[in-house]
C-alpha cells in the first residue's frame, strides 16, 4: 500500500533533555500502526509533532510523498491529520454536535447557532463511529467510551486521512474498548490510517499491522505485528527481559485474624459487599468499569457515605467519615487518577511525598532523610527532589504518589489501579512494592482493570458486578476467563 505519512530525523529537546533524537515513522494508507515505548520514550511527543501541537527542533515530514510543514493543529487539520488525546479535549457543557463543528474547517459557522444544520452535518460521522446518540445531547452526559467516539467523529468530520490515538483505551471498560476496535476496523477498511499509541500488548496484537518501538527518543525497530511476539516487543521497549506473568501467589493458609472486616457494606454504588482482609494479604478487586471498584476504596477511605453494613478494623467497628479519619484508623488510598486526585502538579516531588505525613514546622533535612530511602526503594528517577512533580514521567509521578503512602505507612492500603498508564519497568517496580507491603504484614487491596496484573499480585480476588460481589476466587483457582465471566454477570452471585 502507498505510504501516507513519513516523518524523518525528528528531534525535539526540552531544556537539556532530548525527548526525540532523530526519530521517524512511516505509515501506509489504511494501516493501523502501533507506536510503542515506555513512558518518556517520546511516543506522545512524536504524535503531537505530527498533529502540529508541538513543533520539532528539526526533521522532515512528508504527506503523500510531498514535504509538508506542520506548524500548528490547523495545518495538520488542513492536511487531514487528526489526533485524539488521552485526556479528551472536548467541551462537556456543549452538545455532541457543537463539539464536532467547533473550530472545524469543514463547517462554516457565523453568527447564530443553527442546531438543525449541525445535526444534519454530524449525522453521517456519528453513524460512522456507531454512537447511538443524538447530536443535541450534552457531552457531559456521556460515559467516557462514548465521549471518545465523539472525539473520533470530530476527527472524521474534518476528513482526516490519518488519526493519531494516544492510549485510547486507558479509561475504557473491555466492552467499550471492543466497540472502539470495531470502529477502528471499519475506518481501516475505508482507507483511514491510524497511529495507535498504547502500552497494551493484547490490543496491539488484536488490531495493529505494524509496530514502531521507541526507546529514549530513538526508533529501535519497526516490526510486522504478525511476525513478532509480545515478549519480543517488550524486550525491544525496555531493552531487557521481563516476565509478563510471574509466579502465582499461593492461596492463603492460616492467615491471622483479619485486619479489616467488611460486612454487607452498602453505599450509593455498592450493595451488600462482604469480605475480610488479613495482614500480609493482597486482595485483588476486579470488575468492569463502573462495577464499583473505586467506590469500594472511596467507602473505606471516608469519601463516600456508608448507608448500610459494617466496617471493622482489627475487630473494632469503624466508620470513617473523612480521609483524615480513615488515616487515623490506619487506612490509606492511592487514587485512580494521579493527576486529578493524587498530585499537586506545581509542587515539588518531595512536597508531594511528604504532604500527608508532615506536621508542624517544615524540616527539610529530616524530610529528605525520610524520603531518600523510599525513592531508592521505588527506583524513582527525578532530576531533583525540588523539581515540580509535573516534570516527571507518568511512572515516576505514580511512584512519588506511592511514596506518600509508604511514608504515612498505613496498615491497610487500597491501591486503585496503581499501574495504570505507566511503562513496563515502573509497573514491575510497583508490583515489587505490593509484594513488599504484604511481606511486611500490611493488608493490601489492589483494584485493577488488568486481569494478568491481578492474577500475578493477589492472594485472592474479589469480583464486583454492578456494585455487588459476584465472586471471590483464590489466586490458584482463578483464571482470566472465570473472572471475566463473574465480572460480566455471567455467573450466579455465589461465593
Amino acid at each position: 500500500m502507498p505510504e501516507l505519512l513519513r516523518a524523518e530525523s525528528i528531534s525535539k529537546r526540552y531544556g537539556g533533555v532530548y525527548a526525540l533524537q532523530g526519530a521517524g515513522l512511516s505509515v501506509a494508507e489504511g494501516e493501523i500502526h502501533a507506536l510503542l515505548g515506555e513512558n518518556g520514550a517520546g511516543k506522545s511527543t512524536l504524535a503531537k509533532i505530527i498533529a502540529g501541537s508541538v513543533r520539532p527542533d528539526s526533521g522532515r515530514i512528508f504527506f503523500r510523498g510531498a514535504p509538508v510543514s506542520i506548524r500548528n493543529p490547523r495545518d495538520a487539520q488542513r492536511l487531514g491529520i487528526g489526533i485524539i488525546y488521552q485526556e479528551l479535549d472536548l467541551f462537556p457543557n456543549l452538545t455532541i454536535g457543537e463539539n464536532i463543528v467547533i473550530g472545524n474547517r469543514s463547517f462554516q459557522e457565523k453568527g447564530f447557532v443553527d442546531f438543525a444544520r449541525i445535526e444534519f452535518f454530524c449525522g453521517p460521522v456519528l453513524d460512522r463511529v456507531g454512537l447511538g446518540r443524538g447530536a443535541r445531547e450534552l457531552v457531559a452526559s456521556l460515559p467516557i467510551g462514548q465521549a471518545q467516539l465523539v472525539a473520533l467523529a470530530r476527527a472524521l468530520s474534518m476528513d482526516a486521512r490519518l488519526i493519531l490515538m494516544d492510549e485510547p483505551t486507558s479509561a475504557l471498560s473491555d466492552d467499550a474498548a471492543a466497540r472502539l476496535f470495531d470502529v477502528i476496523g471499519a475506518l481501516k477498511r475505508s482507507g483511514v490510517s491510524i497511529v495507535y499509541v498504547s502500552h497494551k500488548m493484547d490490543e496491539i496484537f488484536r488490531i495493529c499491522d505494524r509496530a514502531t518501538v521507541l526507546r529514549d527518543g530513538r526508533v529501535i525497530a519497526t516490526e510486522e505485528v504478525a511476525h513478532t511476539t509480545p515478549e519480543a516487543l517488550i524486550r525491544l521497549m525496555v531493552g531487557r527481559e521481563l516476565s509478563t506473568t510471574g509466579d502465582r501467589l499461593s492461596s492463603p493458609v492460616n492467615f491471622p485474624a483479619p485486619l479489616l472486616s467488611v460486612s454487607h457494606l452498602t453505599t450509593r454504588k455498592l450493595r451488600d459487599v462482604t469480605f475480610d482482609l488479613h495482614p500480609g494479604e493482597v486482595l485483588g478487586v476486579a470488575g468492569l468499569v463502573g462495577a464499583g471498584r473505586s467506590e469500594l476504596g472511596a467507602a473505606l477511605f471516608g469519601l463516600d457515605r456508608i448507608r448500610g453494613g459494617e466496617i471493622r478494623v482489627r475487630g473494632a467497628a469503624a466508620h470513617p467519615r473523612s480521609p483524615a479519619a480513615a488515616m487515623r484508623l490506619g487506612i490509606g488510598l492511592l487514587p485512580e487518577d494521579r493527576k486529578l486526585e493524587g498530585l499537586m502538579m506545581d509542587m515539588s516531588v518531595a512536597e508531594n511525598t511528604t504532604i500527608a505525613a508532615s506536621r508542624g514546622l517544615i524540616r527539610r533535612t529530616r524530610e529528605e532523610a525520610a524520603i531518600e530511602p523510599l525513592y531508592a526503594r521505588l527506583a524513582l528517577r527525578s532530576p531533583s527532589w525540588s523539581a515540580p512533580v509535573s516534570a516527571l514521567s507518568g511512572g515516576n509521578q505514580q511512584k512519588a504518589l506511592l511514596a506518600r503512602w509508604l511514608l504515612v505507612n498505613p496498615d491497610i492500603v487500597f491501591l486503585d489501579d496503581p499501574a495504570r498508564g505507566i511503562d513496563v519497568g515502573a509497573k514491575q517496580d510497583i508490583y515489587r512494592i505490593i509484594g513488599e507491603l504484604a511481606a511486611a504484614g500490611k493488608g493490601v487491596l489492589l483494584a485493577s482493570s488488568e486481569l494478568p496484573e491481578l492474577l500475578r499480585c493477589s492472594h485472592r480476588i474479589l469480583v464486583l458486578n454492578e456494585g455487588r460481589m459476584a465472586a471471590m476466587f483464590d489466586a490458584a483457582e482463578a483464571t482470566q476467563e472465570k473472572i471475566m465471566a463473574a465480572a460480566s454477570g455471567a455467573v450466579a452471585h455465589d461465593r
Binding site: L303, A324, M344, M345, M347, E351, I355, L361, I362
Partner: protein, 316 residues
C-alpha cells in the same frame, strides 16, 4: 530555549520589576533645594513604607486566601468596621460596643466557614460580607465619622502612638516576617498551597481542608482589623466609609507579586515586592505632581504590564 539560560524564580522576576520602578523614580525625582533627589531622602523613603503598610498588611492575608484558590473582598469593609469600633471604644461614643481584634478574626472565620462548609464560591461569600459588614459599620456609627481628637485623653494618646512611623512600619515588617515563616516554613503553609494547587488531591491526601480555609480567611479578617487600628490612628478618626476598594489594591499587590490568582503558586516575598512596586509608583507620580486620576490610569497599565511580563517569561 536552551537549557543553559537559567530561568529566574518568580520572586527574582518581580524584584527586577521593582528595581526598574525604583530606577525610574530616581531618574524622574525632582531635586531638593540642596540639589539632592527628593525621592532618595530618608524621610521620603520611610514615608513610602508607612503609606504601603496598611495595604501591605492586608495583602499578607490576601496572599494566603488567594493561594488556596479563594479571594477575600470583605477586607475593606472589615477595615472600616475596625476604624469605627476603635474610635467608638476610645471616645466612648455610641453604645460602647467594646473592642478586640478577636472580632475580626471571627468575622473572617465566618467567611471561611461559609466557603468551606457551605461550599459557596469565595467571591460570592466575601462579596456578601463586603456589603454586610460595610452596612454594619455605617449602622453602628450612624454613618458619621467619629473624631478621636487631639486632646490629652486616652484616645488622642492612642492615635499618637499608633501613627508613629517606626510603629507602623515595624508592625508591617514583623507581620510580614511572621506570615513569610507561616507560608514558607510550616506544614500549614504547604497545605495552603496544596489546596490551591489541587483541592481534590488535597482531600485524597487527608489534608484538613476546611480547617485550613477557615484559618486563612480568619487571618485575613484579623489583619484587616489590625490595619483598621492603624488607619484610625493615622487619620485621627473612625470612618465607616474608609477602605473602599482596598480589597482591590491588596489583590493587585498580590498578583503583581507573582501569585497566581487561581491559587497554588505564589509567595509572601512576592506580595511584599508587589506592594513596594505600587508604593514607589504612587510616590514617584505624586512627587511629580501627577493628577491623582492620571495616577490611577498609570497604575492600571502597570498592573497589566507587570503580570504580562511574568507570564511571558514563564511560558517561553
Amino acid at each position: 530555549m536552551t537549557g543553559k539560560r537559567k530561568r529566574l524564580p518568580g520572586d527574582a522576576r518581580s524584584l527586577l520589576a521593582l528595581a526598574g520602578i525604583v530606577l525610574l523614580a530616581i531618574v524622574f525625582s525632582p531635586a531638593a533645594s540642596d540639589g539632592s533627589r527628593i525621592f532618595l531622602q530618608a524621610g521620603n523613603l520611610t514615608d513610602i513604607l508607612r503609606q504601603i503598610s496598611i495595604i501591605g498588611i492586608i495583602s499578607l492575608g490576601m496572599t494566603l486566601v488567594i493561594l488556596t484558590g479563594g479571594i477575600d473582598l470583605s477586607v475593606g469593609s472589615i477595615l472600616a468596621l475596625s476604624t469605627s469600633l476603635a474610635a467608638m471604644w476610645l471616645t466612648g461614643a455610641g453604645q460602647e460596643p467594646g473592642y478586640g481584634l478577636r472580632i475580626f478574626y471571627a468575622l473572617g472565620a465566618l467567611n471561611g466557614a461559609a466557603v468551606a462548609a457551605l461550599d459557596i464560591q469565595p467571591f460570592i461569600v466575601t462579596l456578601a460580607s463586603m456589603i454586610g459588614i460595610r452596612g454594619l459599620a455605617k449602622w453602628l456609627t450612624h454613618n458619621a465619622n467619629i473624631d478621636i481628637g487631639f486632646g490629652r485623653d486616652v484616645a488622642a494618646a492612642f492615635a499618637e502612638v499608633f501613627r508613629r512611623k517606626p510603629l507602623v512600619i515595624g508592625s508591617y515588617a514583623a507581620l510580614a516576617a511572621v506570615f513569610w515563616a507561616l507560608l514558607a516554613r510550616t506544614v500549614f503553609g504547604r497545605h495552603v498551597r496544596a489546596i490551591g494547587d489541587n483541592e481534590t488531591a488535597a482531600r485524597y491526601a487527608g489534608l484538613p481542608i476546611r480547617r485550613v480555609k477557615v484559618i486563612v480567611y480568619a487571618l485575613s479578617g484579623l489583619l484587616a482589623g489590625f490595619a483598621g487600628v492603624l488607619y484610625a490612628a493615622e487619620n485621627h478618626q473612625g470612618n465607616p466609609n474608609a477602605g473602599v476598594a482596598y480589597e482591590l489594591d491588596a489583590i493587585a499587590a498580590v498578583v503583581i507579586g507573582g501569585t497566581r490568582l487561581s491559587g497554588g503558586k505564589g509567595s509572601i516575598t512576592g506580595t511584599i515586592v508587589g506592594t513596594l512596586i505600587m508604593g514607589v509608583l504612587t510616590n514617584m507620580l505624586r512627587l511629580n505632581n501627577v493628577d491623582s486620576n492620571v495616577e490611577m490610569m498609570v497604575k492600571a497599565v502597570i498592573i497589566v504590564l507587570a503580570v504580562a511580563v511574568q507570564r511571558q517569561r514563564r511560558t517561553d
